[in-house]
Symmetry: C2
Subunit: 317 residues, 2 copies
DNA sequence: TTGAAAGCGCTAACAA
DNA sequence: TTGTTAGCGCTTTCAA
């Protein structure tokens, strides 16, 4: 029977038939858990993030799942909603399930998390964030992304720039901001001339409201660099509804290149974070962790400027 | 030890400490698979759809996960990409994992699928589709949704309507179309006066191109009812880019009420399918399946018209 | 080529 | 209150 299921040894046709008959009669479904109990990994990968329904993470997840499927693995999707308690319990659950590994974007400090348990359970771990040298991680170069975005605007001739940030992902936002300042410096401009407004919250309402705040600035900026596409899209809608022309009156650059960026009325110029590739690489790194000769790797992905229609030369005054 | 892990019996403090010490020393992580081997269900729910990254299914998934988490369960997200083979293998994998249950939107006929195996494995099954009486299912009343959408436009005074469909989800599209015709009939209008155009493909390009086809119609329709929000949004962008006013020149109604519908430059009037609630109900139904006194249920969710800014009275000629 | 038996990590039932 | 043991479904090893 065991031989049949895993066909390790040849089986006489008669015996084979007898087994198949029994399987059909009993509606027998083999129990994978037994293998797991005996030390095998569960055929699953955990994917733990703070907001899995976010288009960004969904796209990362697509990359993960495609690799997982190739290897007969299934993806356990865990939405922590930014809660420390949920994060803990998901990671613990994955460890107890003996998943092959987990791809985690931790919202909290390392010591707060049951990563040790995950490792101790034998699972691989890949972190989507700056982390330590004892862990595989994939990061994105936010500084360089910020630099590219601002450099693009400067090259078009813009001098009055505003940076739009807001709550959520502070760490990344600061790097994008710093990168933008660096671009000003590189161009011989005063980095302090880069003004900044932060949305009051991550709600659409407050993001749309940024449009008014931008229009109220004096002198009015000719270009805005937004810390994320969703913020950029909301702000742009706010401008368009008031009859402001994009890019005629104000150019806009976003960040991430989520799917919606190219579908907008005015397709958004943005800094592309290769979301699918990020998921794919993370999954491959994870599978490599299970190999005995594995060495931890810290991968840093580079940004790419995608010019669409939301940026142009500033209107002469 | 077993007593400790499941605290069924009182334990002396000294013993407890001894156990905890051992757990810490060994970095012991209990192996859930053992319970599963002994007949318990794996603490997981499968979610199998043809396009899990689609915003619609993502939102359904959110409803599922919230219920799952309440019950200490995890969600296994399976994207079949419309492939029969993937659908089969995911369902088989879930059965072998002994998941508590699975929520499936099958792309194929019942007999083609290893549903029997899933059931035989002891898992609950909830189908998101018309199905048979021996299965729990949740469906949406597409006819009524189509009727509501068209009735809204008729009530505003529109008489020249066009229905926009396209490939993907044919079954549902036909019901929405039929519902729209019924609304015309109810209003004493000729149902055959409802014109129809189908997008050549589900790509954004072909959907945007619908705008031109609509504008080329003679007489030009004053309102369009689109079989889905994503189609409506793409088409609307096509119109807006050409300077056509929405709703001034053409009113637009979508279907589903995906998140993007309210974020559009012109927020979209649409027929709301309660996606989160759908996922939530499906998950609750699934958990009920595991109760011994469970009786199968076929739930039909009703549509709701959400009026935003993409519809208005037709411009007098 | 087939059958029998030990053992994986834990639970549950029992004995001490 | 604690320790011991059988057994869950399968793989693996060994014997027939």
């Amino acid at each position: 029977m065991s031989n049949y299921l895993n066909d390790v040894k040849p089986i006489a046709p008669a015996t084979r038939e007898r087994i198949e008959q029994a399987i059909a009669d009993l509606e027998f479904v083999p129990n994978r858990a037994v293998k797991v109990m005996r030390g095998a990994r569960a055929p699953a990968i955990g994917y733990v993030v703070s907001d899995s329904p976010d288009p960004f993470f969904v796209e990362v997840g697509r990359g993960i799942e495609d690799v997982a499927r190739e290897h007969g693995l299934v993806v356990v999707s865990c939405n922590t909603e930014g809660s420390r308690e949920y994060e803990r319990s998901y990671i613990t659950a994955l460890a107890e399930m003996r998943v092959a590994g987990a791809i985690v974007m931790p919202s909290f400090e390392r010591r707060d998390l049951p990563f040790r348990a995950l490792r101790a359970s034998g699972a691989g771990v890949v972190v989507l964030r700056d982390w330590d040298d004892d862990t595989c991680s994939i990061t994105f170069d936010d500084d360089e992304g910020g630099r590219l975005a601002a450099a693009h605007l400067i090259e078009l001739g813009h001098r009055d720039l505003v940076f739009l940030g807001g709550p959520g992902g502070e760490h990344q936002i600061e790097h994008r901001f710093a990168g933008a300042k660096a671009a000003l410096r590189d161009a011989g401009l005063d980095p302090e001339s880069l003004r900044r407004i932060d949305a009051a919250s991550a709600t659409v309402r407050d993001r749309v409201a940024l449009a008014d705040q931008v229009l109220a600035l004096d002198p009015r900026p000719t270009a805005a660099f937004c810390a994320s596409d969703s913020l950029a899209l909301a702000m742009m809608n706010g401008l368009l509804r008031q009859g402001v022309q994009v890019p005629g009156d104000i150019s806009i650059v976003g960040f991430n290149d989520v799917v919606a960026a190219q579908l907008a009325v005015v397709p958004l110029t943005t800094i592309a974070v290769p979301q699918y590739a990020l998921g794919e690489s993370a999954a491959r790194l994870l599978l490599d962790e299970l190999q005995p000769e594995h060495r931890h790797e810290q991968i840093v992905l580079g940004p790419q400027l995608v010019v669409r229609e939301s940026t142009g030369t500033p209107r002469p005054r």
